[in-house]
């Protein structure tokens, strides 16, 4: 007997020109085939991330001081998008799959903490916004490390006043995102 707990399905970083800077996609557990595979294709994830931009815009009018936007929208019974915005206009989105990871029932101590494994089977039970805080904190510090690299040119990636911008190609940043996405599970406090 096994139960499913939430995991990260996708991490996205959006530049201040509403341009995609980085997208990482993580496989979810598929109980039918007993395998791990992404539950959406890259284009669909890209569209989901784009759709969060409107929510960011709408909410920034009554912006929170911390930059944490909490739950942006619940996409379906499995997927939910959470967001964070820095004062420079860089937005980070974490799409959570509520049943993305499998745990043996009663076996894992980690699953019992946080929101609890049993309640996670429906989005209604949901995650507390604070559960995602470590993810955004880790993403932000990875982004800060990226900016410290003298060969990374922020202007190139989000030209002032203009449109578009190039994607992040840094391998270190990609590895950081991969690590964050794979390590997070409800109850994790540091990444």
């Amino acid at each position: 007997m096994s139960a499913a707990i939430p995991s990260v399905a996708c991490l996205g970083v959006i530049g201040r020109n509403n341009n995609p800077l980085h997208i990482s996609i993580f496989p979810s557990y598929d109980p039918a085939a007993n395998t791990f595979s992404p539950i959406r294709n890259p284009l669909q994830f890209s569209l989901l991330l784009s759709s969060t931009i409107d929510v960011f815009d709408l909410r920034s009018k009554s912006s929170t001081a911390s930059g944490d936007f909490g739950l942006l929208h619940a996409i379906d019974d499995r997927l939910a998008a959470y967001g964070f915005e820095t004062n420079t206009g860089v937005r980070m989105v974490c799409i959570v799959d509520m049943r993305g990871r499998r745990v043996e029932a009663g076996g894992s101590g980690v699953a019992g903490q946080g929101s609890g494994a049993a309640g996670a089977s429906t989005v209604g039970a949901g995650l507390r916004d604070s559960e995602l805080k470590p993810v955004f904190r880790a993403m932000q510090s990875a982004y800060v490390r990226l900016l410290q690299n003298p060969f990374y040119d922020p202007d190139e990636h989000a030209p002032l006043g203009g449109k578009g911008g190039r994607r992040i190609t840094s391998k270190k940043f990609g590895d950081d995102m991969k690590r964050i996405g794979e390590a997070w599970t409800p109850g994790v406090t540091t990444l």
Partner: protein, 189 residues
């Protein structure tokens, strides 16, 4: 024995501090700008960094001698190497690279950098050439060359490995070419 004395001098010398990130970002900007100005001609960037370091070294040696209060000359090149690592690098960068891989004639050694404040956060450009051609911290070679030239030692210094390129260590090779006679004016470079 000499080594422990050198360590003591390095430890005891009080020096004004500056924020490490300021140094890292300033140096990073210089290298990145050089790469831009010379249109990614990395061998040329290496040369320019070395030249800048040389000019720093010519001036820095005076500061080093004043701050370290070492009036005695080093008796041999081995002692010089110890002083470079444990006093020079210690007071200016707060690191002590290991001195190893001596040749049998005692004229050539390696400095192995366990940490390199210049290279924090750095990721070399992924254009297929920088990884092979650019020596990011090459300014240090110039500094040693310039500083030692002012105390009558002509040396040749170059990096042979760098963690930024995926090597296990960052290693600089320093070779003594000759002691410059006091009578001769120093060569123009």
């Amino acid at each position: 024995m000499a080594a422990s004395k050198a360590s003591r001098i390095g430890e005891e010398t009080r020096i004004d501090k500056v924020n490490a990130e300021l140094v890292t970002l300033t140096y990073g900007t210089i290298v990145a700008q050089l790469c831009k100005d010379f249109e990614d001609d990395y061998p040329e960037v290496n040369r320019q960094l070395d030249k800048m370091g040389y000019n720093i070294g010519l001036r820095l040696i005076e500061d080093y001698l004043a701050k370290s209060n070492t009036m005695k000359r080093c008796a041999n090149f081995r002692e010089t190497a110890d002083m470079i690592s444990r006093v020079g690098f210690k007071i200016f960068l707060n690191i002590t690279p290991q001195v190893t891989n001596w040749t049998t004639d005692n004229n050539s050694f390696s400095l192995v950098f366990d940490e390199n404040p210049f290279a924090d956060f750095v990721e070399l450009p992924d254009d297929g050439r920088a990884q092979n051609e650019l020596w990011y911290s090459n300014i240090l070679c110039g500094v040693l060359r310039g500083a030692l030239e002012m105390v009558q030692m002509q040396v040749e210094a170059h990096f042979i490995s760098d963690v930024l390129k995926g090597n296990d260590t960052t290693e600089m090779r320093v070779t003594l070419i000759r002691y410059i006679d006091d009578e001769l004016p120093p060569e123009d470079d």
